[in-house]
Symmetry: C2
């Protein structure tokens, strides 16, 4: 009903309930294939069949049909409420976030946002970039729109200097940069609207425009002339989207809409809708249909037993995933071969399938620099285990060089119950863990996607040389994320989870100090 008030034509309204029969994926697939549907709005508390669902989203995207998706149950209480009334397990919300985005669906948080965006799709124009031009008769309105655009990650780029000079000649006290403030001068001379707008479209390089007109379009005297001015300005730019922020009655709004303009009263809502259309514009570019995986062939056998650290480390190393070299020692004599080459410090750890928290039972020794120290540590560890975990089965003691320096990251992979193999990468260390700065992607991924994951982190600047540090080896990092994504995808029938933590990343190397594989 609220949708009808907005003048949205609704072809299907399908409620899947508990999805015993028809799933949300199947419903979207059907709509994607129906030529009379051009926009798909969906609401769900969970998705059951991840594969069907993502296939349907891909189908809608390849038909260039926007899917506006509200997945609720984002919060703890919300998720509990969702479970209680549809009895479906929602899965992790962050993964929905990523899957929706990756398959070109735009996730909304509120009904209003959903309807605004659905309304805005009526123009069927999806800007292919994120550079927004703002033309306004109120300085404050321009500032407000610029703020909202920044919140949405849009660019409000400046006009070229020579064009700014030209605008200044037209209206000396105008702000010509962008937001372009035509000022109240426009009341005296409406012709400056098409002049300004035309210069913005032809020279500003903007992907779309928002005009802020307050109540002017509602004025009996100015409404028509303004519309005529805008129509004139837009001649030849049918492919550009123009949203008007204006206060006027329904009939006037209709005349603007019939002339091809979108009208959204509140400027912030206009920007949010614009941002969604720009998202779709990016998604509807052809590149998304190209599969750019670059999979290497690694042949890796996973033994059918409980894996200890050394096993995990070897399996992953064989798959092109760098883990610090570790040696499994079963008697002191074997230590000698380690300590005749370098000046490294070493770390020694007990290896036992029965010991989870090695430090708690005295099973870890750090900073071992020579053979005497190594033998002493070896003996102490065994004594500690004898005292603290007398029944543990001991595989041996693992010794590996200590590595320092670099940014502490975490790289992992797991099987999601809905969406299957997932790779995750984020900042590590305790502070980063508290901040939950982690990116997810369905595995396997391309190198490009790996880069997107890195760039999506809040702390991404760390990788690109924040505060005078040198930039890390991004290519090596991408390669490793891709490799782990291939590993989990290939071994998804045997493996539940992989964690490489910490993964140290620097300009010189990318290397994990610890790795764990959980088999099914």
């Amino acid at each position: 009903m609220v949708a009808h008030e907005r003048g949205l034509g609704i072809r299907y309204w399908m409620t899947t309930g508990n999805e015993v029969d028809l799933s949300v994926g199947e419903t979207i697939q059907m709509m994607a294939e129906d030529p009379e549907v051009h926009t798909i709005m969906a609401y769900a508390e969970s998705v059951k069949d991840g594969e069907q669902f993502t296939k349907a989203l891909d189908a809608a995207r390849s038909e260039k049909k926007p899917v506006i998706f509200m997945k609720v149950g984002r919060s703890e209480v919300g998720a509990a409420a969702a479970n209680s009334h549809t009895a479906s397990l929602a899965g992790e919300d962050v993964i929905y976030d990523e899957v929706l985005r990756a398959h070109g669906a735009y996730r909304v948080k509120s009904t209003e946002e959903m309807l605004d965006i659905a309304y805005a799709t009526r123009a069927k124009t999806y800007p292919t970039g994120k550079n927004l031009g703002v033309v306004t008769i109120s300085g404050g309105g321009g500032v407000l729109i610029a703020d909202a655009a920044a919140d949405e990650g849009l660019t409000v780029g400046p006009m070229p200097q020579d064009t700014q000079d030209e605008l200044k000649k037209l209206v000396p006290f105008a702000s010509p940069m962008n937001p372009v403030d035509v000022t109240a001068q426009f009341f005296n001379d409406l012709s400056i609207v098409p002049k300004f707008t035309d210069l913005m479209l032809s020279r500003g390089g903007y992907d779309a425009l928002i005009g802020f007109w307050t109540t002017v379009p509602g004025s009996p005297i100015l409404s028509k002339p303004l519309l005529e001015s805008l129509k004139k300005a837009m001649k030849g730019y049918d492919d550009k989207l123009f949203i008007n922020c204006m206060v006027a009655n329904e009939d006037i709004v209709k005349t603007y809409e019939n002339a091809g303009f979108l009208c959204i009263e509140d400027p912030t809502r206009a920007v949010v809708a614009m941002s969604a259309l720009m998202f779709f514009g990016e998604e509807f570019k052809d590149k998304h249909f190209v599969n750019d995986f670059n999979k290497k062939d690694f042949v890796v056998h996973i033994p059918n037993k409980k894996l200890n650290e050394v096993d995990c480390s070897q399996i992953l190393t064989n798959f092109g995933l760098p883990i610090v070299t570790s040696t499994l020692i079963r008697n002191k004599d074997e230590l000698k071969s380690i300590f005749n080459e370098d000046n490294n410090k070493y770390v020694m750890k007990i290896v036992s399938p029965d010991i989870q928290h090695k430090t708690d039972v005295g099973g870890v020794k750090l900073n071992i620099g020579n053979i005497d120290n190594a033998i002493k540590s070896y003996e102490e560890i065994h004594l500690n285990i004898k005292n603290n975990a007398p029944n543990a089965v001991i595989d041996g003691v693992m010794i590996s060089p200590m590595v320092k320096g670099g940014i502490e990251c975490i790289l992992g992979a797991k099987i999601d119950p809905v969406f299957g193999p997932i790779v995750m990468f984020g900042l590590g260390g305790i502070y980063a863990e508290v901040m939950k700065d982690i990116a997810f992607a369905e595995a396997p991924i391309s190198h490009k996607k790996a880069e997107k994951m890195i760039l999506s982190l809040k702390g991404k600047d760390l990788f690109y040389g924040a505060r005078g540090q040198s930039s890390i080896n991004i290519e090596a990092l991408k390669e490793i994320i891709v490799n782990l994504s291939n590993f989990i995808a290939e071994k998804s029938n045997q493996i539940d989870q992989v964690v490489m933590n910490p993964l140290l990343v620097s300009d010189k190397q990318v290397i994990a100090l610890d790795a764990l594989i959980v088999t099914k």
Copy 2:
């Protein structure tokens, strides 16, 4: 005009323009004192007279008049646009954020949000807590509201178990936890609405309720009975705020409003408005008028010269601010007195007003453990300076024990051009700096405010024992933040900036490794 459509009565509409004459602060002050004004909406691109402004906000708060404030120019482009059209320097946006909140004004980002909240203040009921009860006829609506409430930091606490059992007896397939889903059963028996609502109000301990009724209130048959049910339920709870999310025509909405209910169609917008009213409820409690500073008297003299690290360190230490003890050495013999007591490692740094980046010129040596090493380091530093900065005036070499462990923080203070002395505290280290996790407050502050600053950090869990680490000494940390706030407030005529970075915070101690004072 949009406000009028919402039925908001507007007594004053004041535009201060470039504020040559009347400031936004003076305008708010006037409205705070006018008994016919009960809600103040303000829009500003900057504030000029911080003192007048905060005084006006305090006046409005003490009159229990909500101030809904839109400060634009939050983004870089927005701020530039604001400057260009009012030629006022906006100052740092994060400081506005803090000052507005600290003086009880609610900052909004959009016009719609401003009008929604202004509308919601017509009930003149400000809940004194943040526990929200949600009653709904749609499971999905409840989930949506719970999600939005979580976004706003509200609690959607569960009903007591015995009351849940009681509700279950009334409607066996209801979800009685909260959101309380009365389900479609309510179409058969409207009397369950007052029963449910009454139990929520009397036993749930909620500070306010939101009801989600979709189009039911718009139905010719159900509209009146639902309203009567709700009125019955609210009898005796006039002090509780109740917002209805409902789709109905204007006339019906008016009948609900006249009965004391607020009506906001979109559930997310209802939650946002509720959250603002709860903010005001908290602010309008009497405690805010009590000044609970606990200022100690430190007598500190700041010499009228360029301060080196040792000066800074001594000045701050005298003010109860712990900096690692450092000794200024002017010849090698003085080193001996340092190295006969403990097993500490020491750090040595050149002290010169002419050298900013000590590491770059070889002016820093770490991990000095004994006198021989110390003498060698001392000589090397002098040699390096001779080669790399031959013209620098040398005050000496500073030696101090190395301190490790604890959470790396940053504590600072500065004079803001608009709001005067400001203290700031945040997480340190390079990752935290990239994340800009910093809290600000006008100085001086109380211990309570210091705690609020700590709790406002995104990484706050670190301080309270995240991941099995022990909780830090919060009392000591609060004391130090308070002391620095007193220092900047007292010395604001002499000092521009103070930085204590890193400040190491652990369960055992709070200590800065470095401190810098910039005098005017």
